[in-house]
């Protein structure tokens, strides 16, 4: 029996190793980037500094068309210049405007830009201890810029603008604006070929809105009372009938 058992064990071990090898081979990340396709902010850094980016905010639905410039250079949520925080309660909006300083956009590696993307990104303090917002040098893996304000084609006047309405699910955080230029790269799809942002220059803050309507509070109160009340009522009922018996 022992030799048969040990043979079975050896076979099982071999199968497991094969499974592991196959799994490791099957596990593959995305194919490596083409050498001439920039994929990181570091690679784009040498073309930074061409943009003049401003952020304006509307606070309160009364001022529908009056945007006030955001001049806060502190990323702290509690900073005085960030108050009051924007939220969805009053349909607050943010307008991001990016102007080319020289009117002409120069991309890295001599690539030809064909569009511009405006994004909102979490400030560094707002990503602390929150890995789901973690910034990454690889642009595709950067999770710190979840909101796209606008995707625009190349404009002759070098001015690009977009308006972002604060949604109901906006978290409590401070944000900066980012501009990314897109370029075609032969047969490979659009890639990012230039970027700029308002880090250490301009921030704005957002806050969570109340999400517990009165109806929900009533429902929770009623349902929470029913459960122990039923337990107590049944307990008393059984006590009563037992004593009767």
């Amino acid at each position: 029996m022992a030799p048969r058992r040990s043979t079975a064990l050896l076979l099982a071990g071999a199968c497991l190793c094969a499974l592991l090898a196959n799994a490791a081979a099957a596990v593959g990340g995305p194919s490596g980037p083409a050498l001439d396709r920039p994929t990181t902010y570091t690679q784009l850094a040498r073309a930074k500094g061409q943009w003049d980016i401003t952020i304006e905010a509307t606070k309160g639905s009364k001022s529908k068309s009056m945007f006030f410039p955001q001049v806060c250079s502190s990323p702290a949520l509690s900073a005085a210049c960030n108050q009051p925080l924007l939220s969805a309660d009053h349909r607050d909006k943010v307008r991001v405007t990016a102007k080319l300083a020289d009117g002409k956009l120069l991309a890295v590696n001599g690539m030809k830009p064909d569009g511009v993307v405006l994004r909102l990104c979490f400030s560094k303090p707002s990503t602390a201890d929150r890995p789901w917002r973690k910034a990454a040098d690889a642009i595709d893996r950067d999770r710190s810029c979840p909101h796209t304000v606008a995707k625009l084609p190349l404009a002759a006047n070098g001015t690009y603008s977009g308006t972002f309405v604060i949604p109901a699910a906006m978290p409590r955080a401070t944000w900066y604006a980012q501009v990314l230029a897109t370029c075609k790269n032969g047969t490979v799809g659009p890639v990012f070929c230039q970027f700029d942002n308002t880090v250490n220059a301009t921030y704005f803050g957002t806050d969570i809105i109340a999400s517990t309507p009165g109806s929900l509070k009533v429902a929770v109160g009623v349902c929470s009372a029913i459960a122990p009340a039923f337990l107590l009522a049944f307990f008393l009922r059984e006590q009563y009938f037992k004593k009767q018996a």
């Binding site: 099957a26 109901a168 999400s211 004593k243």
Partner: protein
Amino acid sequence: MAAAPPPAPPPPPPPPPAGTAHGPPPPRKPGAAAAPAWAAAPAAARYALPVDAERKATRLALLSFAAPHMRAFHLSWLAFFLCFFSTFAAAAVLPIVRDELDLSQTDIGNAAIASVCGAIGSRVLMGSLVDAAGPRWAAAALLLLTAPAVFGMALVKTPAGFVALRAVIGLNLSMFVVDQFWVASMFGARIVGLANAASAGWGNMGGGVAMLVMTALVDGISRHVPVNQAWRWSLMVPGALQVLCGAAVLLWADDSPDGRRPLPGAGPSPRAPPPAQLPTSLPCVGAAAPAAAAPAGRRRRARRCAPPRVPAAVLNYRTYLLALSYALSFGVELTVNNILTTYFFDQFGVSLSAAGLLSSVYGLMNLFSRAAGGAASDAAAARGGMRGRVWALFCAQLLGGVTCVLVGVAFTSLAGTVAALVAFSLATQAACGCVFGVVPFLSRRDPGLAIGIVASGGNVGSAVLQAVYFTFFDFAPHEGFFWMGITVAGLSGALLLLHFPQWGGMLCAPRAGASEEGYYLSEWSQQERASGLHLAALAFAHEAKSQRGWGGGGGGGCCCGGCCCCGGCCGGGGAEPRVASFAAAAAGPETPGAAAGAVR
């Protein structure tokens, strides 16, 4: 030497006295009010399933809902299922909740730890509650008293509130003890393993179903209300289901085949206690008159005249080895349930509902994987006895560790991750089933406490694994899976230390002269054995000879059914039990009618 005759089996228990759910109706006294409808019993006892001498079912009819056996089975696993569902409902919608409540990773980790820590102590205490009040009231109380916390999660606004409510809701996980006790009360020895494993596995599915259902609920509700309200409304559903299930348990379930057990202090019970509840401790010397002379409606409690004994399960090192094994299997399962939806959402950028669908695969495998583990344990025992069971557990646990490593390795491939996850769930959940293939043989004096300690090990393991690999140290989630798998695989070696003197261990043969009787009866003192308190365990010890396997029997080479005997007849197999090291048993509360049920 002539083989001694096998011991006479204990006499069958007395028929159910008048007034039980399955006995004749009691004679009504002249002028007495009619008994309430629920106390009336049919003239002849009839069960829908075939039963043994203890009136426990010998067959599992999954499509039946007949009282008392199958109704209790289905309500038991359903209650456990809903408890799991409620515990992990908040984790399923965490990608939305974390921004809504401004949670940090530390807050999320603390909440996950809190959700499993609450049940560490409550699992141990739940055994006592089940003994005192019966599984029906224990299940109903747990469901109905934690439901407000489940509803309250819909109104939480701060990280501290989120952590606190997850801790309270996590008490639900102690429903496992109720479930195992209840099923064991209803099903006989031949089928109880499968019934317990199926019940526990289907209950554990609640975690997987929560991932699937809650994300779909949020998706659906968010079409009518903003998404930051939708997750709150969705959390009303598990609470409502708990209330409904608690009501169903109270209205329709029985504690045992003999019917419903009265609550303590509710007066003398008209029903006989289950035969298994023979007295387990000596009455205090000089105690007052027997229970019959007690004031009507009051049950006399024996006075305590000796220091409380240390439970045998607490002094048995094997309890803690199995608790470690359960920590490395069920603890891993709890940890993964807490993080899986968020892992898919963050790592692969899939939508919330897709993340829920993918992560539900892990929990849904419980439909058959845990039962498969139990079946594998039984199959291994058929070939190799207890040594086979331990080897089955070791292999399942080791495989669980290896497949966990694969999940961590496959972090850049969604398909690879899902494939590894399927294998991981199979192995880990099968290991859970294998653990409880061994636990019933740990102790006969304190089986409930043994279950409670081992079960608590799962929660402790989850708290530690969550803290180390997914909260307080700087591991990326895929690195957490990788190193958690390494830990599980490495610590599986602790099973090499698990050794039963009468059956042996993984690498060691049984000790010469050791016997099942010697092992189990050592939990009673000589004085207690002289009083016959050990007799129920004696019958079990006789049956447990079926766990002999490789290396021959511990009882001097005898096989079960051959020359086995009870206490002192066979050469080697009947060696005198070791003198117990416990102090005199505390005189605990006597079960009414227990003296009548005692067998000499």
